[in-house]
Symmetry: D2
Subunit: 342 residues, 4 copies
Amino acid sequence: MTYNVAILGASGYTGAELVRLIATHPSLTITGLSGNSKAGMAMADVFPHLRHLDLPALTTIEEMDLSGVDLVFCALPHATSQAVISKLPQSLKIVDLSADFRLRDPADYEKWYGKGHAATQMQGEAVYGLTEFYRDQIKAARLVAGTGCNAATGQYALRPLIEAGVIDLDQIIIDLKAAVSGAGRSLKENLLHAELSEGANGYAVGGTHRHLGEFDQEFSAIAGRPVQVQFTPHLIPANRGILATTYVQGDPQTIYDTLHAAYADEPFIEVLPMGQTPSMKHVRASNFCHIGVAADRVPGRAIVIAALDNLTKGSSGQALQNANLMLGLPETEGLMLAPVFP
Amino acid sequence: MTYNVAILGASGYTGAELVRLIATHPSLTITGLSGNSKAGMAMADVFPHLRHLDLPALTTIEEMDLSGVDLVFCALPHATSQAVISKLPQSLKIVDLSADFRLRDPADYEKWYGKGHAATQMQGEAVYGLTEFYRDQIKAARLVAGTGCNAATGQYALRPLIEAGVIDLDQIIIDLKAAVSGAGRSLKENLLHAELSEGANGYAVGGTHRHLGEFDQEFSAIAGRPVQVQFTPHLIPANRGILATTYVQGDPQTIYDTLHAAYADEPFIEVLPMGQTPSMKHVRASNFCHIGVAADRVPGRAIVIAALDNLTKGSSGQALQNANLMLGLPETEGLMLAPVFP
Amino acid sequence: MTYNVAILGASGYTGAELVRLIATHPSLTITGLSGNSKAGMAMADVFPHLRHLDLPALTTIEEMDLSGVDLVFCALPHATSQAVISKLPQSLKIVDLSADFRLRDPADYEKWYGKGHAATQMQGEAVYGLTEFYRDQIKAARLVAGTGCNAATGQYALRPLIEAGVIDLDQIIIDLKAAVSGAGRSLKENLLHAELSEGANGYAVGGTHRHLGEFDQEFSAIAGRPVQVQFTPHLIPANRGILATTYVQGDPQTIYDTLHAAYADEPFIEVLPMGQTPSMKHVRASNFCHIGVAADRVPGRAIVIAALDNLTKGSSGQALQNANLMLGLPETEGLMLAPVFP
Amino acid sequence: MTYNVAILGASGYTGAELVRLIATHPSLTITGLSGNSKAGMAMADVFPHLRHLDLPALTTIEEMDLSGVDLVFCALPHATSQAVISKLPQSLKIVDLSADFRLRDPADYEKWYGKGHAATQMQGEAVYGLTEFYRDQIKAARLVAGTGCNAATGQYALRPLIEAGVIDLDQIIIDLKAAVSGAGRSLKENLLHAELSEGANGYAVGGTHRHLGEFDQEFSAIAGRPVQVQFTPHLIPANRGILATTYVQGDPQTIYDTLHAAYADEPFIEVLPMGQTPSMKHVRASNFCHIGVAADRVPGRAIVIAALDNLTKGSSGQALQNANLMLGLPETEGLMLAPVFP
């Protein structure tokens, strides 16, 4: 059985990554691509690496013919998504890659995104797209909200630990190193090669990054009480990948055993042997997430490190994994591409 | 129909790249991996990015059980290959990725590689593995010799032009920019990140690079007279990719038309519209080759630029393409992975 | 004796590089910095790496007090310079880093820059700033026009050869690899880290790059007849540096001897031993230029490679070298900083 | 007054960095360079970026003539230094860049370096070379032990806070990002460009890095009680620089005020305005250290980030700063080179 999909916002990096992954997916056909500022252009002119593919030209969203489409990936900018999605036909399944439907509480949305939500009626409907933890709801969902890429990485390291109650909830630190593609194809001075290469710096330091809204929502829900982690992202000179180093207090072996058990049957989550820690490069361009645990020399403390590719497992790969579930396809279909190394 | 394959020399980059590609190939199963210096290790310990795969452990070549194997990829170091291959059972099909069987003439081999060949009887048997130009012979071959990655790139730009007689054979310059993985996983000072990053330099300047042996052999054979190109490779700070800028004398439009016609039906060779030139990044981690032609302001001169990924189209992807042909499989099977960008 | 200098256009990379170099120059004091779009800001907020320096705040050009200033560096964008410079007081010495006064012939300017020159009366007055070849005129000049960074690199490799008549004037090819800072601090998609890193591509292929205007002007003047080189620049993933590989026809040893003799007494030009070729990385952040010569295997052909840092010897270092001469200071003052490696 | 200096171990990165800095130092002359494995070679052949300098050829240590030498920089590998230094004439001043004399207690040395010290009698004599905190002792010292580059960065962020008693001594985490040159010019697989570029990973995770010996020694001495920090270094794809993100518990404004006051008169330590955090790139190739403080959203917690260049302020620049003090020269002489950006 083959399904037709469309991608709204195909001129950004997550849109291009969706096309890359779907290109070798056996059950999906791309029948529409939108990109408002580049409407009328061939995808090969916007992303020459996709030149070998037979793709529809970019259109505006309004021009797109959605008849016959089974599922839409919405890779639009934050805040744009909510307006567009609220007007899509009820018959369409939707995987949203923006931040618009990640937070369930309108007040939380307003707190972290600085203005009211334009489609609050859909916020409750949306299922949070962290596949391994919302699998059943995703299968039944019409609208799935893709997670933040940083938020996904931190949750893979910490969710089973919070759920199992094996770490101190008031002493959680996430020090995250992020490659630059997470910032999108945007023309900002700090994203220039000349400014980023050979550099490294923290940003949104002190607890102001919007993905904290997701950490708070999810961790508090699991714990059944408010949980506020410390989270400091850093920009490093690489294109793809996130490495989240988390510092927790609890028994290291118990922590390891908890993670190992939680992910034992997961096709994309690899828990390394105790004491080994992952490298961002070993998951590049793939849907895999590597997790490692080490005991600190200070008793009762552990370091848990998770690595994934922000564009794949952190965004477009996750979206495809969820789409597979929503369409009744095998969850891993089209996603078993091995990481690219070196 | 599924075939069993083994990889000799799986602990290097081309070996790992073969595993990456075969991981999602529907008709091939890896039943043996050798790596003499790392025999006994799990592949996941040598290349952690392959950790999710169920692979045989590394063995020595001697320990490897070749019964039931249909085809062997030989990714051993130059000079080692010839001794190993000459001892393999006659029933095995072999794709060699080393330099050992690229040159048909033992004298040429000795000239470029500095010593006599240990298996001259097989030199004549081997088919040169530039798929698009040796397709029929490859289908029938028992032993295919993978090309040099630089040699492949230059030939994609120039072969049809030499064959059609549309350029001056005595005024051909290939200025090539190569990423570092072409040098393999070898511990040399100039391959260190601290030495290569932010740098660029020519090497083997003046016509001493061994891939010139392939250019000479192939171009002279096509032209029916000796052809000696100038060839200067440069090392640039990137991991994957080759960009070959070739300077030729002839009518630019004729040159363009010749290339366009030659590759019209090729699944992996994309000739860009006249005047557009390729980027190394747009073919990364894929089996595609992009070629562009521009007229110079000096009348009667043109620039032809070809880009490919040295580890894929320049080596392991080419090897797999040839293996598909040798096994009677569709030529593109397992090789349509889209380039990874950004 | 100490001189006061001002920098117009200090918010770009060449402006910042001037400040870096002047920071440890014993005879120059910066008394004014302009940056129209960032007027009112402290230099430390525009370029935090200069935070330790006691610098004047950025002003508009109009607000700048030029009384007491001995020399102005004009690092404004192309086309802006000519209007500004034509209004500066006659008493000021001026080193212009833009393209505005590089071409002596108004018709040439219009041909390469697409519109008429706004200060043609000053075009004749301006001295071309390639120090080693215009030293005496620069000492006496009021206005010196800094060269293009690519143009400088190619000329260091070729000028002595053309002057000595030891190469074929109709068979000169310059294949140039340029780091990204030459494009300035400009917000363009292809300059993003995610787009440039791991890539390489030709640009202005076919003889359309504006620095060809300088090559034509200078090489033709030396040769006493029109000379048209082929010139193909490539963008590579590095921040600083240019490597120009030039292909020439002539006797390699004569070529080497000619270059060696020409630069024997030059403090910043190093000709490597015959057969050795330079690395871009070995001149980084310095005012040095390394040149190497290799004979090709094709008799009568040679490769000459030159490397320099586009922001230093190719632009701001050159400007300071010229300013030293114009002010009667030792030519090398403040410029002997060793290259930064690794 | 000019002094003669020699560098033992000049064929490594810290040796080359010393030569780079001394090249423009007005009061020092290099009269000897050793490099046992490269004895007999010209420095220009080992480090071509130093080609313009008139330097003595490399010798063995035994061959070196130390008569007339005032001060020796010892940039030998760890464990080699102690044997060499114990045999140097008593009249020589010595700045050691190795780890051999950083730990005052022989038991600590054995614990962290895995074997007994060969010159315990000199361990007590050596002064710890963190200039800003040992200035008076360094002025009077014969032997100064350069600090670890990671250890220096962490101490700049934390020492004043521990001394002032404004943070919780049992809740200190140092998450450090290190560029690759800190590992030296050593041929290791993980230092290859192909392995490091586009990657990031923790190493010595869990409290096993040797620089913890320095943290323990220094922080415990200041606090007057044992202090054990958590310290996780990460390797990131850059050549120069360290960014240390430290997580502390205490009042953020008090923490800021304490650091600001502590470094108010320091020529090389820049404390950024409250809330701003440093970038590794803004101190590259310089002797400056930038420090920033941000309050976390969790009350009573702060993030302190310090950035410096591991080869300059973290090693050779620090060594030169100490040498200046030991020779009675101005502390900043030869060290005011502005950072190189971009």
